[in-house]
């Protein structure tokens, strides 16, 4: 981009500037800190110049939006064509209550649904299971059977919305329910679109909603991917998630690196199951976090897109450009929110939204300002959605594609993060792959070390967090918190009792028997799961079939 002579001259002038004016000012007024770093600990220079991106080759590093290596975005027109999908993750209490929240959000201009399931559903337990005590309907909606699913989407035509479901270990079961529901609405499978998270590796690494050991878990993941390729072509079969890795304490570069490492494992598993990389590659999607340091986040997203494109092309030999596109959803950073002075969180979320827009995401959930205190109230959810709408419609961030490209800082930081991703990938490969690295606790330890370092920095006031270690104040306890009815479990238990009494026992038993049989072979489990949910088998019953065959995963704890 710059000729050698020009670079030499900039370099010389920069040195003169460093030794001249800068030194003089610093002698009198020292800088605020001896070194500056991003929230992830990436070193930040005083000033970036062409010298910092000396070898910069536009075609090789950036290219054009919609073209390899997709650094500048995955679509040719990006938000000038269509804004990102505003998709608020929601769910609590009964299917009826959540259905009302969905219809409210759709009326407010939200363009996609995102289902939060309660922890029993996510762990494959029915609401009346002893381990579900206290958890029913708490962090999401309780879904036990197709009956609940029907209520959840009441008056919502499934061909008019796309639905993202945060479900992993039992992803096949919830997808089966959604497909059965589509059939009830007389829709062919190719008319419904959406995403299941279906990312078991990050559950094992840090999110904790696993059921089975890694290998049978991966088999369910691959079965779902394969089934959708054949029958539900518009479904995003997996959302390979860095979000929770970041929440657990990782840096931005680690978030991207470990997510891509997990992605490589899934791609390899599908190839091992005799699938062509270009058959399932275009349906892979990703899910990331956005913290408040805008430029670091933008660099992370750009570096990740570029790295993934290379992985798919060079490592796996993909031919279809769509297989090389890292399409992703973003959620703003839950852990960046403070319980102290909660209204400040609106500002944090706005900056994170800006970072997401500059970064080129396909969809976004913005957190509500009260989430460090409780589940979000309707008021807080509305402000969060409006934040996206303001950034999209007023800030101008959506009007030109990848507008920060070419910034010496952003390009240098993009390279810096890409190098870190590459270092991690080499390390993980040398350990024998992601599963090995997880088994040995390497990835978990790297994340925990970063979390620990961050906490220490905050407590030593080396890093400032407004309302936590600076600008603190006395404030009255918050009011107007959202409460979930503690009677929830009773309500669900009654429903389950009724379901178990009234369903056709013969059909139900045969369906579960068939599922058991298929699961012991190499045959794809999806058709049998769909039959089971239609026979009104519950999430817990279906998951128990597999618990009996594969047992349950018990992780080693690495502290």
């Amino acid at each position: 981009m710059f000729d050698k002579e020009k670079l030499e001259s900039v370099k010389t002038k920069k040195e003169e500037w460093d030794c001249g004016p800068v030194e003089k000012v610093c002698a009198k007024f020292p800088e605020r800190r001896p070194t500056f770093t991003t929230i992830s600990g990436e070193e930040v220079e005083r000033l970036y110049t062409p010298v910092d991106i000396a070898g910069f080759d536009y075609d090789n590093k950036l290219g054009f939006p919609g073209e390899y290596p997709f650094t500048r975005g995955v679509q040719p027109t990006m938000y000038r064509g269509r804004l990102w999908t505003m998709r608020q993750y929601a769910g609590f209490g009964t299917a009826r209550e959540t259905n009302e929240r969905y219809r409210y959000l759709l009326k407010q201009g939200q363009t996609g649904l995102s289902v939060a399931f309660d922890l029993p559903t996510q762990s494959g337990y029915d609401s009346d299971h002893p381990l579900s005590m206290g958890e029913v309907g708490k962090v999401g909606v309780a879904i036990d059977s197709i009956d609940d699913m029907r209520v959840l989407f009441d008056q919502i035509p499934l061909d008019k919305v796309t639905t993202s479901m945060t479900i992993n270990a039992p992803a096949t079961v919830l997808l089966a329910m959604y497909l059965a529901l589509a059939e009830e609405q007389n829709l062919p499978y190719n008319k419904v679109g959406g995403t299941v998270q279906n990312d078991i590796l990050k559950e094992i690494i840090c999110r904790g909603q696993y059921i089975y050991p890694p290998l049978p878990s991966m088999r369910l993941t691959v079965d779902l991917i394969k089934y959708c390729y054949e029958h539900v072509p518009t479904w995003n079969t997996i959302s390979i998630s860095g979000y929770h890795i970041r929440e657990a304490g990782s840096t931005a570069a680690q978030e991207m690196a470990f997510t891509i490492a997990n992605g490589i494992s899934y791609v390899q598993a599908c190839i091992d199951a005799a699938m062509d990389v270009d058959s399932f590659g275009p349906r892979l999607s990703f899910f990331y976090n956005a913290f408040t340091n805008v430029l670091e986040e933008v660099a992370k997203f750009r570096a990740g897109r570029r790295y993934w494109a290379k992985v798919m092309k060079e490592r796996f030999g993909a031919k279809n450009p769509r297989s090389m596109m890292m399409r992703y959803h973003v959620q703003t950073g839950g852990v960046t929110l403070t319980a102290q002075q909660p209204l400040n969180n609106i500002v944090r979320v706005a900056l994170q939204t800006l970072a997401t827009a500059y970064g080129g995401a396909q969809s976004l959930h913005t957190n509500s300002f009260d989430e460090a205190l409780c589940l979000p109230t309707e008021e807080a959810v509305t402000v969060a959605l409006r934040t996206q709408q303001i950034v999209a419609e007023e800030s101008g961030a959506a009007d030109s594609i990848d507008p920060l490209a070419g910034s010496y800082y952003v390009e240098a930081m993009t390279d810096q993060i890409e190098e870190k991703i590459d270092e991690y990938m080499k390390k993980i490969d040398s350990m024998g792959g992601t599963l090995k690295a997880i088994e040995e606790g390497y990835i978990q330890r790297e994340i925990q070390d970063s979390a620990y370092r961050f906490q220490k920095e905050i407590e030593a006031n080396e890093r400032i967090y407004v309302g936590i270690n600076k600008y603190t104040m006395e404030e009255p306890p918050p009011t107007n918190l959202l409460r979930v009815d503690p009677k929830q479990q009773e309500i669900e238990t009654k429903k389950l009792k009724k379901l178990r009494a009234e369903r056709d026992q013969k059909v139900w038993k045969a369906a579960l028997g068939r599922l058991d049989e298929v699961s012991r072979t190499d045959e794809n489990v999806m058709p049998a799961v769909i039959e089971a949910v239609k026979a009104r088998a519950t999430v817990g019953e279906i998951c128990d079939v597999w618990r009996n065959i594969w047992g349950e995963y018990r992780p080693k704890e690495f502290v």
Partner: protein
């Protein structure tokens, strides 16, 4: 010469909640402060937590919950500890716990609730003061 007995802490995650960043971080910080720490891992029932406290002869049980189940689990752990005669075990909690629930939890026998943003050395000091005071 008597050596001071190390404070023994059980860090536990009751229920199905998978958010264990805080629990693991505190386990490490406590260990560095000279305490002996056992982290139970996820998905603990109150019975499992109390069994661990009994077996390990714990001085402190730390409970972490971010999924809104504290009002059920925390008092239940205190109750079971009492049933097993472990009245002297200090129970503390943390996580996403609304201020208005704190009084009820304290009444139920939870010595303190540490919300988001608490300094870890404040937690250590609280535990050390309580244990040496008894």
């Amino acid at each position: 010469m008597t050596t001071k007995k190390r404070i023994k802490v059980i860090m536990a995650k009751p229920g199905l909640d998978g958010h264990d960043r805080g629990a693991k971080l505190l386990a490490r910080v406590f260990a560095e402060a000279g305490m002996e720490v056992v982290y139970t891992g996820l998905r603990q029932t109150p019975e499992m937590i109390v069994d661990a406290a009994l077996q390990e002869d714990a001085d402190v049980v730390g409970l972490s919950s971010l999924s809104g189940v504290h009002n059920y689990f925390f008092p239940r752990v205190v109750e079971l500890l009492k049933e097993k005669g472990l009245d002297d075990v200090l129970v503390v909690g943390g996580g996403i716990i609304p201020e208005e629930d704190v009084a009820g939890l304290r009444k139920a026998g939870v010595a303190a609730i540490f919300g988001p943003g608490t300094r870890t050395d404040d937690i250590i000091k609280f535990i050390e003061d309580k244990i040496s005071g008894t």
